[in-house]
Amino acid sequence: MTTLTIPDGMPQYSEEPRLDVARIRQDFPILSREVNGHPLVYLDSANTSQKPQSVIDAISEHYAMHNANVARSVHTLGTESTEAYEGARATVARFINAPRPEEVVFTKNATEAINLVAHSLASRLGPGDEIVISEMEHHSNIVPWQLLCERTGATLRWFGLTESGRLDESNVEELINERTKLVSIVHTSNVLGTINATARITERVREVGALLMLDCSQTVPHRGFDVVDYDVDFIAFTGHKMLGPTGIGVLWGRYELLADMPPFQGGGSMIETVRMTGTTYAAPPARFEAGTPPIAQAVGLGAAVDYLEAIGMDAIAWHEKELTAYALDALDTVKGLRIAGPKVPVGRGATISFSLDGIHPHDVGQVLDSLGVQVRVGHHCAKPVCERYGVPALTRASFYLYTTTEEVDALVRGLEQVKRMFG
């Protein structure tokens, strides 16, 4: 195995924070399951993460003992529920170092968070204005901007990618210019694993007075994120990828920007006063949370953050880095396997996509599944990346705090089996 030395100039780990994988695995009931007669090897955490018992219990306990609607009742259950919901907002805000809890808007997923921002720009955008994304985006950070540009006549532009799977920043000065209104970039790619360096982009965005949004769906779960430190305007992420439940996502935005945005959806809870002839709207975050919000899901997400913090984000990031180094080495032994994305364990997350010469990912995934190994195959909701690297589909293995080197070994053994069948 390659010894992990992080080059000078990259962030260093002062010590090596450790986590106890075996103990962590006991917190996740699903990990003791069998699949097709083999122990479950879950290598699809970039798609959705598994849930520790503490998160499952927090949700059950909420329904069983404190369930009520929020912000609408003076009764005891309503008060408990509201405190739990707003408490989760405060927990999430602290986790990403948001200056104010009111900057955290709960949505149904990361996708809605991005759509919300795109929608809010509609009234301020017109022909001649530009939005900048990249070729590395998840569909959820492409389609909302395409729809916005269609509606407003603005132009969508994008960063290309280098051969080694990184953002091509060579034309940053031209791409981001006085016409640019917003730049929205994925922070960690869900296909390539690349973690994008954002300093040059941020600087240029500030120079031209545009806004910067980062899609942190694959970052927050694995290393956390500091919205102040990164000097961004909006970030989006999603509960189910960070040990939390489905049905909840987060938009974080600077308060003064949120306060200036029109509502997205209309309905209960987002109003100040309603007359048949016209309505005024509540302040953020309520303005953007129309209808009954994902209450129990917020409670579950709060419990997920508690769990992550108890383990420690540094320890998780380090565990994943070691595992990625191990996996990159191990996969290198599989003949005919080509990795899409960075081949070194720096500047990347614990997500590795690859192709196997002449064998379609569907078949790879199917045979692996018969051995209990769960990987994702297909375009990973990021067709333009696949197209950029000339493949219709990829196989992806992605790791998390509960993944072990033995599971990486099982993957490699499985790939040899695949090759025997289809070679």
């Binding site: 509201t82 109003i271 509540a282 309520a286």
Partner: protein, 151 residues
């Protein structure tokens, strides 16, 4: 927690016999505040003469807590200075946000100390604060107006 810690005698008295109710002339600023969760509304006027708050008058709809709060505020602050009023506002706000852990200061808050129990009912804190938020808003506006007049 007993319900009569919330509904202290003083609160019920002010509610049943409110002081200062009804909108009066002259006034330096008028504001309209709404509590969107419950629909309580208050229109509040302040008359400021130099440093002195010469009148606080109000109209609106709301529960015993919000109505009593406006009445207490009228009684406590009419005739006092703008500085006193802002200090009382700060002290009352702190009391309300203290989750029942803060000892109220009777010197500053007068009958307002009866609201200490409200701080334990998060859903009602907004009711108690409605009139006080309106007061602060109105004071800021009167000062702006008078500064404008000076300038």
């Amino acid at each position: 927690m007993q319900i009569d810690q919330l509904y202290q005698e003083i609160i019920l008295d002010h509610y049943k016999h409110p002081h200062g109710r009804g909108l009066r002339e002259p006034y330096s600023a008028e504001v309209h505040h709404v509590n969107p969760t419950c629909g309580d509304e208050i229109t509040l006027r302040v008359a400021v003469d130099g440093e002195k708050v010469t009148d606080i008058s109000f109209a609106g709809q709301g529960c015993s807590i919000s109505q009593a709060s406006a009445s207490v505020l009228h009684e406590l602050l009419t005739g006092r200075t703008v500085g006193d009023a802002l200090a009382a506002h700060a002290s009352f706000t702190e009391l309300m946000q203290g989750k029942g852990q803060i000892e109220p200061d009777e010197e500053i808050l007068g009958d307002g100390i009866a609201f200490a129990g409200v701080a334990k009912y998060p859903a009602r804190v907004k009711c108690a604060l409605l009139a006080w938020m309106a007061l602060k808003d109105a004071l800021v506006r009167s000062v702006e107006v008078s500064d404008g007049n000076k300038g």
